[in-house]
């Protein structure tokens, strides 16, 4: 039944011998102790994508990002020179949260010339410098130079803004992303500025939800409705065309006949009426020569690329648009989920309707995944089982949990040595 060739070793999994083929544990997704380790070992060490440069359109544009797993909040700002900077969202006077509106735990965004603390009115420039202290003369030897905002390492790749909460990151962002991801350089993400943004607070460990978006083995069983009932083949499987690992990152590509080239009964009426649907608009404006990193397996006909960028970012590249997920842990068994659909701005109502259909259908099926995973989490937490088999279509799930374990082990080793 194999439709796509596998590597010479006979499977994608065995092509990467370091990940093994044995049963795996999901203790990393149910253990409060392991979650405590992930805070430091992963979320205070890895580069984290917090947004896009389009969210900072001009000097003084800012947004805040709550990184609860690291017990911190970051403010990201376009500075006076047009650069992107990030600071810990904490006032140097008595530690008040600097930038927020209405609810201190909620994220915010806006535009300002400087940041003013709500508590005693200290003011900071867009470069983080402390510019004004109320009744400065009442302080004792206070040198404003020494009390600027605490910077957070912040770098931009392809318009994606990343921060690193470590005092000194172990790698530059570029080195961290590695050759497989940075080969997407030049992809016109910057043209895809018509956004839908969704969010959810899900009752599962962050990795359990990410797992559901890095394998397609579950599609026929959980999402049979992706195919209209009249043409559904019971027992049919789903086979991906290409898998690739690079350091802590992963990609899977799908292939096969494009949905809209199939006979009409393979589409829902809404899809035929609007020329859009499950995999987005049938046609999008041309985006020119793709970068070498797109479709790395050179699959023909190519479907989508699903890049899993460690630890908690996923970018799915469709034809002329992309979808982005972020999984922000909030406890060992909850996480905050963000999803963005990013299109080239519609110039006609027809195009707008195509985007609307794609967003609506995305939500239908993402809810199916979200609806199920509370069940996964609670059943795992029952502790009845502690070892689980993964097949070759689930190779990325295997790799993900291995990388998480490796990062935690590495952190523990270095920590023990200190």
């Amino acid at each position: 039944m194999a439709r796509w060739p596998k590597p010479a070793e006979g499977s994608w999994t065995e092509h990467y011998p370091e990940i093994g083929t044995g049963l795996i544990s999901f203790e990393d997704s149910v253990s409060p102790e392991f979650y405590e380790l992930e805070r430091e070992a992963i979320f205070r060490r890895a580069w984290l994508n917090v947004g896009r440069v389009e969210q900072l359109p001009r000097k003084g544009s800012y947004f805040t990002k709550e990184v609860r797993v690291a017990r911190t909040s970051v403010v990201v700002v376009r500075d006076g020179g047009g650069g992107v900077r990030a600071f810990f969202n904490v006032c140097r006077h008595r530690g008040n949260k600097l930038v927020w509106d209405e609810f201190p735990g909620e994220e915010t965004s806006g535009f300002c010339r400087q940041f003013t603390c709500k508590y005693h009115g200290w003011r900071y420039g867009l470069d983080g410098a402390l510019n004004f202290v109320q009744q400065e003369g009442e302080f004792f030897d206070l040198d404003k130079e020494d009390f600027g905002l605490v910077p957070v390492h912040c770098e931009v790749w392809a318009g994606f803004i990343f921060v690193n909460l470590a005092r000194e990151p172990e790698q530059s962002l570029h080195d961290f992303l590695g050759p497989m991801v940075t080969a997407l350089d030049g992809y016109p993400f910057d043209k895809m500025t018509e956004w839908y943004v969704f969010r959810a607070d899900n009752r599962s460990n962050w990795k359990i939800f990410a797992d559901a978006f890095q394998e397609y083995y579950h599609v026929p069983a959980l999402h049979p409705q992706q195919v209209p009932i009249e043409v559904r083949t019971p027992g049919s499987g789903f086979e991906c065309a290409h898998f690739q690992l690079d350091g802590p990152h992963r990609v899977v590509s799908t292939g096969g006949a494009r949905r809209w080239t199939l006979p009409p009964e393979y589409m829902y009426p809404i899809e035929r009426a609007t020329r859009s649907g499950l995999v987005g608009p049938w046609e999008s404006p041309e985006i020119g020569e793709p970068p070498p990193g797109l479709n790395p397996g050179r699959i023909d006909p190519w479907g989508i690329d699903n890049f899993q960028i460690f630890p908690n970012l996923e970018i799915l590249i469709y034809r002329g648009w992309y979808l982005l997920y972020r999984y922000w842990p909030t406890s060992h068994n909850t996480h905050h989920f963000e999803a963005m659909l990013c299109f080239q701005p519609a110039t006609t109502v027809q195009e707008r309707v195509e985007h609307e259909v794609a967003a609506v259908v995305f939500k239908e099926f993402a809810l199916q995944d979200a609806g199920m995973l509370t069940g996964t989490q609670t059943a795992l937490e029952s502790g009845v089982l502690d070892r689980f088999p993964l097949n070759d279509q689930e190779v990325l799930v295997r790799h993900f949990h291995k990388v998480v374990a490796d990062w935690v082990a590495d952190y523990q080793k270095n920590h023990a040595e200190v």
Partner: protein
């Protein structure tokens, strides 16, 4: 207030306009959950057959300068799209087995 919300050539959809000309995904999804399948089916049937004509009508105007009645028609179309899976796939308002799940739309294109 004008007597009709929709362009004259879509007068047949006027009975649905007051309920379903909704500007945001949150309103549309909320309306979907709050409406009986019988009413959803009737609304869907009425609008789906006019979808292509409605798109063509709206496309006579630039996206950022649509007259009020065309904008209402577009929002009506969005609502039909929002309920389409209830009719075409699920047979119910809510996605099956998603009792505990939510997914809120925070930002969306306008219009």
């Amino acid at each position: 207030m004008a007597d009709s919300l929709l362009p004259a050539e879509f007068a047949d959809l006027e009975p649905y306009a007051a309920d379903w000309c909704l500007a945001t995904e949150t309103e549309r999804y909320g309306k979907r959950l709050a409406t009986s399948m019988q009413d959803i089916q009737a609304f869907y049937d009425a609008v789906v057959s006019r979808a292509e004509a409605a798109i063509a009508h709206c496309d006579r105007f630039p996206l950022d300068a649509m007259p009020e009645d065309a904008l209402n028609l577009l929002h009506l179309l969005y609502s039909m799209i929002n309920v389409s899976f209830c009719v075409e796939a699920w047979g119910q308002q809510r996605v099956p087995d998603t009792g505990a799940a939510m997914l809120d739309c925070l930002i969306e294109p306008v219009p």
